[in-house]
Structures are given as C-alpha cells and as structure tokens.
C-alpha cells in the first residue's frame, strides 16, 4: 500500500513534468508548423533547429515587466491565470498512459487515478476551466478583455453541451465511465471511432472550441479584440494563459486518443509475442504517437481555416452539433437495441 502511494506520487510528478514539457515543445512545434505551412522555416537560431526556443521564450516571459492595471481587482487578476493553469493540469490525472507494468507480481497501473467516473471528472474539470478565463477577463477591467471573456464563456458552455452528448453515446456503447476501462475494452475489438464516427466528429469539433483554438479562437481574436481575455496580462501571467492553452490541447489530444482511437492499444500488439513490460513501453509510445498526430491536426486546422463569425459559431454549436449529437445517441440506442447489446 505504502509502495503504491509512493508510486502514484512519482507517476503524478512524471505526468505533470511530461505535460509541461510537451506543452513547451508544442509552442515550438506550432511555430515550426506555422512557418512550414506558410513556406517559411521558422525559429532556427536558438539551438539546433530552434529547439531551445521554448526556453528562450519562457525566460523572456519571466523577465518581462509585470503589469497589474490600477483599476483591476488585484487578487482576482492573479487568480485568473493560476486557475486556468490549474484546471489545465488537473485533467491529466485520469488518463491511462499505459496498461500497467509488472514488478514482483504487483501490477502498477500507468494511470494516476482510475476513478469510476473518469469521464464525468473530465467534463467537470473542463467546465471549471472557463472560470480562469472569466475571472481573468472580468478582473482586468478592460472592455476588450471582458468581451473576450464573455465570448469564451458562452462558447465553452455551448460546446460543452454537444461534447457531453457525444460522449453519452460512447458511454452507452462501452457501458462505463472509467477511462481505464474504455481504453482496455478497445484492446479486444476495434477502436471506438469505428463505431462512433459521428460522435468523434462532434467531439473533435467541440474539443477545438473548448481549447479556444482556431477556427474557434474568438475569445482571443487578435484582430478584433486585441487579444481578448488576456489583453491586460503581461509577463508570466500572459505566459500562463498561453501555456495553459497548449496543455489543454495536449490533454484533449490524449483524451481523444483514449476515448476514440484505442488509447494505448495499437494494432497487432499481442501478435508481437513481447513480454509484459516491453509491451507497456511500446503501448505508451503508441499513445504518444497518437497524441502527436492529434496535436498536428490541431495545428494543421489552425493554419488552414479562417475564424468563424460569432453567430456562425453559435449556430454551429446549437443548431448543428447539438441535434447531431442527440441523433447520434438515438441511432446508437437503436443499433444497440436491434443487435441485442441492450441488457
């Protein structure tokens, strides 16, 4: 028991570090990809291939002058980015990073907390995430920031509905809310995306909206809102907001990989004839490859599609995705009823 607790703490620290490291290098990846998409070469001065760029960016952020607007609510102003960062990091706890490796007969699962309501926890944390933006934008006492925060909160709340309903169809199919179990179930059959293509489509669109990424980056639209909710932020507080966005992206990629693309499982994994722990390492790498592909898709979409207009965004959320998600639940139910999967 004692050993398990120590293991969990170490795992939590590792997941935290990996998440932060991945997010840092995603900023590099984003800049590189952005420039490649635009026929440029991107950062190439700091270190080989510009690989030290995230460190340089971080240092720059730290050494920038800290500004807190006079008429802002100081404590809320500081709370905003902290909260956003906190909620971004919370989600990593329920994601199964691998099946669990064996040591002296004890199985150590590669998941910090396999709670039986993992999906619910996920949705809960995601919806708290909006508070960081809301508090930050509101306490800045700036019209642009307030508008950005308003946009962010209404957008995130609208898309959470469709997201939750898309997940309900998945839950109906898998019969569990535990992410660990969902990942495990996909070992035997196909990945869930085969059964839930529409659900996945709705989920990925909502994930773009939830993480405030293009084409749904209205809350921070630089061209209209001067940066949106983080207009008044400077130094590392701004850094936290931007950084948390990348953490969100990483986590939602992990969630998509786990829920719809087989999690840590990869095709023909049992035919390789590998013994336990080597397979676990391979599985974790497979998960990370899936995450990287999703991150690439995130960035690919960002540099392809222009931003939505706000009414278009709301129309898409309420008039298209929500009915589609409900129809998806209905169809899933019908199929389950007629195939006799309903117990």
């Amino acid at each position: 028991m004692e050993g398990m607790l120590m293991y969990k703490i170490i795992l939590a620290v590792i997941v935290f570090a990996v998440t932060l490291g991945a997010a840092a290098y995603m900023t590099w990846g984003e800049r590189k990809l952005a420039s490649w998409f635009q026929d440029r070469i991107g950062p190439n001065r700091a270190g080989p291939m510009g690989l030290l760029q995230p460190i340089a960016d971080g240092l720059k952020m730290i050494f920038k002058e800290e500004m807190i607007p006079t008429h802002s609510n100081k404590w809320l102003f500081i709370l905003g980015p902290s909260f956003f960062m906190l909620t971004a990091c919370l989600t990593g706890a329920v994601i199964p990073w691998g099946s669990g490796f064996n040591s002296d007969g004890i199985v150590y699962p590669m998941q910090i907390a396999d709670i039986n309501i993992g999906l619910l926890y996920l949705l809960g944390v995601v919806s708290i995430g909006v508070y960081g933006i809301m508090i930050g934008g509101w306490s800045s006492n700036n019209k642009f920031a307030l508008l950005g925060a308003l946009r962010a909160s209404s957008q995130m709340i609208s898309y959470e509905v469709a997201m939750g309903l898309a997940l309900i169809a998945l839950v109906m199919m898998t019969g569990t809310l535990s992410l660990g179990e969902i990942a495990q179930q996909q070992d035997a059959g196909y990945a869930n995306v085969v059964y839930q293509p529409l659900g996945f489509l709705i989920f990925i669109i909502c994930a773009f909206a939830e993480t405030n990424r293009a084409p749904f980056d209205l809350p921070e639209s630089e061209s209209e809102l001067v940066g949106g909710y983080h207009t008044e932020y400077s130094s590392m507080k701004l850094g936290f907001f931007l950084f948390a966005e990348y953490i969100n992206m990483f986590i939602s990629s992990a969630v998509m990989a786990t829920l719809y693309f087989g999690g840590y499982n990869f095709p023909f994994q049992h035919e390789l004839g590998l013994e336990g722990n080597t397979l676990v390492i391979l599985q974790t790498s497979a998960l990370f490859i899936k995450i990287l592909i999703f991150i690439f898709v995130f960035m690919w979409i960002r540099w392809t599609l222009p931003r939505f207009r706000y009414d278009q965004l709301m129309n898409l959320g309420w008039k298209v995705l929500l009915p589609l998600a409900i129809a998806n639940i209905f169809i899933t139910g019908l199929v389950m009823f007629f195939t006799g999967k309903l117990s």
């Binding site: 990809l33 490649w36 998409f37 635009q38 440029r40 190439n44 690919w300 979409i301 392809t304 599609l305």
Partner: protein
Amino acid sequence: MLNLTNRSKVVVPTELTLMERLYLPAILKGMFITLSHLFKRKATVKYPEQQRPIASVYRGQHVLKRDDAGAERCTACGLCAVACPAEAITMEAAERKKGEENLYREEKYAATYEINMLRCIFCGLCEEACPKEAIFLTDRIVPSSFTRGEEVFGKDKLVESLQERVDVTKRQTQEVLAFKQNKKHKHNQTIQDKLIR
C-alpha cells in the same frame, strides 16, 4: 447602367448543394492545400549567412572619396544638399589653412558633413550633382542602431580611410571617368599636378 469596363460580372447567389453545405469536403480540400505547402521549397533567406545577390550598381551607404594622393575631394559646394530630395545632407564649409594641402584638395573644404541616414532615400542624386566626384553611394548596407542620433553619419563614418579605400568603380560610368581623367579641367588636378606645373 454605364459600364466602365466590360469585366464586371453579375453574381447570382445559388443555393448550396448538400455536399457544399456539409463543409467537410471543402475543409478537407483546404487542409490538403496547406499540407502540400509543408513540402514546398521555403522562401526564407537565412540572412547573415546567406545573402541575396545585389545589383552591381546598388545604392547603399555613402562614401566621401579622397583623391589618389589622399586629400578629400569635397569642397563643400553644397550642390548635393540642394539636390537631395529628402534634405538629408547638411554641411559646414571652412577655408583650408596653410599646410593642410595634403588633407584637402581645394581651398575650401567641408568642416562638418552630415547625412541623416534615416532621411536618406538612397536615390543617388547627391552623387549625380557632385562636380568633384567626391560623394558616391556604395554597396555597403547602413548598419542599424539603437538611437536616432547614431544614424546621423558625420565625416568620421563617411570619409573613406586612407588604408581601406572604397571601390566605387561600379558606380562610375565611363564618361564620368574620362571627364575625371581629363587634366585640362582645373578641378581634376591634384596638388601634385599643380606642383609639377
């Protein structure tokens, strides 16, 4: 209605088909366009290491030439300042003292000569106006600086050093060169020429 050109087209809004209203095919098409750009040749020039070829008559930072004996050619006539459309050139004239013949070619010289590089548009009219073949634009790029004051170049930066002469042959046409070589004109005579006579 009067048509100014015959290029105008009447736009008829058509109902979108179901495939078009889905948007997904269009999005995928767009995504493959951007994807194809990943593998295209990059347009970037890695500047300090890699430089684009510049024209042989490139107009960059000015130089105030000395003659072959090393005396400054400029006589502070002010024609360059008058010719300058950006009004970037200012100067103060001074009279040459005895014993300074090796420093200045003519009896009058520019005590101060300043070009504001922030105003200069590098048109080359100063060069054209100069009767003494004293000012030339070179292929050197004006370095950047932290203050505006540093961008006002004085004689210390403009006059070529005796050790490192600046080659301006690319900006001197044959006619000008021939004119300069002609010792019949008094302004082309150096101290040595005058001494010989």
